[in-house]
């Protein structure tokens, strides 16, 4: 009985607290003064970089260091997940590869779908400089293609050997290396030489796409379940 009352008091307090926060935010947002951000400067400076897409310019040039750290977060998350995998289960069947047998439709579709996915990923990478797109969008598609292959059970999840590990950190290392190598030629940290800016950004984006794709695939795989936590209809 007492536990139930405590629970109710807790719920009411939480509800009051949350509504106060919501109300405070709404009032605060309605009354906030507005000053223009740096939109104008972005538009005027991005022409220097020969990048027509302002978001790409912000992500990889003006605030490139944020993106560098963001990749570090992604790689760190993958390592954190890998740490959670029990050692002997590293190759155990992940849930998505242990589902019901793939339908004939899926097997028919797979070889036709994959090239399209890869093509679109390549396009997104290339288009990133002038239109919406870029490394993350391309990487997501690469990751999705890998997940589809795993789902169709045509391939088992790879054991993370040296090559896979290298691909995993390739984007981060390439970004850091290009940022630091500039120091040797008298550039600032993370500064791209004017004539090379676009080429270097495209190179970083390409390596990032591959790394991000692999990262997303590993994050989707996650930690394999125990033997007895099978979903209905799964094969053993």
């Amino acid at each position: 009985m007492k536990a139930v009352t405590n629970e109710r008091i807790k719920n009411i307090t939480l509800a009051l607290l949350a509504s106060t926060i919501g109300l405070g935010l709404v009032v605060g947002l309605l009354n906030a003064p507005r000053q223009p951000g740096v939109a104008e400067q972005v538009l005027s400076m991005q022409t220097h970089l020969k990048l027509e897409q302002p978001v790409t310019a912000v992500l990889l040039a003006f605030r490139g260091y944020d993106t560098l750290l963001e990749i570090a977060v992604l790689v760190m998350a993958v390592i954190a997940v890998l740490i959670l995998v029990p050692p002997r289960k590293a190759r155990a069947a992940a849930p998505i590869t242990a589902g019901p047998a793939p339908s004939p439709l899926m097997l028919w579709l797979l070889p036709r779908l994959l090239p399209v996915l890869v093509l679109i990923a390549g396009y997104l990478w290339w288009a990133g400089s002038s239109r919406p797109g870029g490394a993350f969008q391309a990487g997501t598609l690469v990751g999705a293609a890998a997940v589809i292959v795993l789902l169709s059970q045509q391939m088992r999840p790879p054991r993370l050997g040296r090559i896979w590990r290298a691909i995993l950190v390739l984007g981060l290392l390439c970004f850091l290396a290009i940022g630091l190598l500039g120091l040797l030629w008298g550039q600032a940290f993370l500064q791209y030489p004017d004539s090379w800016a676009k080429a270097l950004i495209m190179l970083i984006e390409l390596t990032l796409s591959l790394s991000i794709g692999l990262c997303f695939m590993l994050l989707v795989l996650g930690v394999p379940p125990r033997r007895r936590d099978r979903f209905p209809g799964e094969r053993s």
């Binding site: 949350a18 223009p36 993350f136 996650g222």
Partner: protein, 100 residues
């Protein structure tokens, strides 16, 4: 003023999700609530930004949100793996203080 309405909706989402993070016991619900709260914050971030003079949107908040989404995805993936490990070890998808 459509930007502001997005921001206001984001504020409401954030408050609702914040409530859910603390009020719900099942960890999966807590994790989803964190995701909803993050979406609320992103909506505020984009909705409150004022664009340039020629009506083009400010690219900075969009870039910030892209960065934020990737971080949120990474953390969610780790949380889910943690949840699966926790549930397959102890059998419960709850924190000890929420057990009844």
């Amino acid at each position: 003023m459509s930007g502001l309405s997005f921001a206001l909706a984001g504020a409401v989402l954030f408050a609702l999700a914040l409530h859910a993070v603390f009020a719900r016991h099942h960890l999966l619900r807590k994790i989803i609530a964190c995701n909803v709260a993050a979406s609320g914050v992103f909506m505020i971030l984009v909705g409150m930004s004022s664009g340039g003079s020629d009506g083009r949107a400010d690219a900075v908040p969009q870039a910030l949100v892209l960065t934020g989404i990737v971080i949120s995805v990474s953390l969610t993936a780790f949380l889910l793996s943690l949840l699966r490990r926790l549930a397959s070890g102890g059998g419960a998808a709850r924190l000890p203080e929420d057990e009844r």
